[in-house]
Amino acid sequence: MLERPDFTELFITHIELSVVALLIAIAIALPVALAIRNTPLGAALAINVGNIGRAVPSLAILALCQPFLGFGFDTALVALTALAIPPILINASTGLREVSREVIDAARGMGLSGSQILTGIQMPIAAPVIFAGIRTSAVQVVASATLATFIGGGGLGDLIVEGTQLNDTTLLLAGSLSVAVLAIITEVGFGALERGMTPKGLKVAQKRAR
């Protein structure tokens, strides 16, 4: 059996890194997406950010933050936040953009104000797409938090690194399997949340389209 009194601590650090990074990323990406939703410049920017985000390896982002910010939890947090922003930003801005013009026209015809259209029509319709972006980021952040160990950020990656260095298979497997399970739970859990976020009306429309 694994005898690591600090397992819980590493586990909590891992979760803490992931949750805080995701929340900061949401707090940055969503308002930006809302602010740029009507500008063509915004759309181009969002696409650029998405492309850069896809090509830069997550290890590169974590490693590049190290010379500037030093070793530790905070550096890992900054890197993971940077990693989490692009999927949320790109999904939120495309989601809001893809609400069809007819629907917005109809809402305006019914006498809804601009802000009512945003909160009552655009945001609920875009919610599944926005949430899909949050899900992508969440899975990516939980996975990349494993790499935080290389820049002294802690988390479950510590167990994998120690297990490899000490050639301790039990330790290695304990770290690897708990990270794997955590990532799969995140993926499945957010998938369920995503389905829950889809408004009833949209579900009916999706069924009909099939």
Partner: protein, 236 residues
């Protein structure tokens, strides 16, 4: 258009003039001895993985598109593999007796990550072939095998290449982490740079890995466009 932004970022990073961050002398002195072999090693790891993944995904994709019942279980299993973080998958693989650190477990993991994307795109590509086209081919007397190789696969190729493209960019990124279990490549420069507190190595490794991913993305995008002559004709 999106690529311009990516290149601009690369230029920004490489134009940092702080001598402590980038020591150009080091890059000049170690270019042929360290940097070029690291790039070659990285290309080797990625290329071998994509090739093996393609050899598995194409037949699997064709089979799954014929027996639809297999689609859900196949995407479930490959999706599960895809969601395991790379360092954890490396850890699990090297725990298996007979697998030691080095390129082998890294290539196995990279192949595993490609399967979901490549199989899904193969099936999606085959789905784009209209039933009328297949009927016409059959009417012309082509055998099932001929229809697959001369009609369906060529028509599905752009979507299949799109899958190869996404998988390749993903693989080039994850391959950097493989250096931790002695697979070499550009990740080795990143790790050595962190361990010796030498930012020049970190930045060189990170920038080159990103550049390699962007380059592969652009090359495969060009190939994808060439394979869709009908789309090009429509544009002009």
């Amino acid at each position: 258009m999106g690529k311009v932004g990516t290149l601009a970022l690369l230029q920004d990073i490489s134009s940092i003039e702080d001598p402590r961050l980038i020591e150009w002398d080091w890059i000049r002195e170690n270019f042929w001895e360290d940097i070029v072999p690291a790039i070659q090693g990285h290309i080797y790891l990625s290329f071998v993985s994509v090739a093996i993944a393609l050899a598995i995904s194409l037949p699997t994709g064709v089979m799954v598109s014929r027996y639809r019942k297999a689609y859900a279980p196949v995407t479930f299993v490959t999706g599960l593999l895809y969601s395991i973080p790379s360092l954890a998958l490396f850890g699990i693989l090297i725990s298996i007796p007979g697998i030691t650190i080095g390129p082998t477990p890294v290539i196995i993991a990279l192949v595993a990550y490609s399967l979901l994307i490549m199989i899904r795109n193969t099936v999606a590509g085959l789905d784009t072939v209209p039933a009328e086209t297949i009927d016409a081919a059959r009417g012309m007397g082509l055998t099932n095998r001929q229809i697959l190789f001369k009609v369906e696969l060529p028509l599905a190729l752009p979507v299949i290449v799109a899958g190869i493209r996404i998988a390749t960019v993903t693989i080039i990124g994850i391959a950097t982490i493989g250096a931790y279990i002695a697979a070499g490549g550009l990740g080795k420069m990143i790790f050595d740079g962190i361990n010796t507190s030498f930012p020049t190595m970190i930045i060189t490794g990170a920038v080159l890995a990103t550049a390699l991913a962007v380059l592969a993305d652009l090359l495969l995008l060009a190939l994808e466009r060439r394979l869709r002559p009908w789309a090009r004709r429509r544009k002009s």
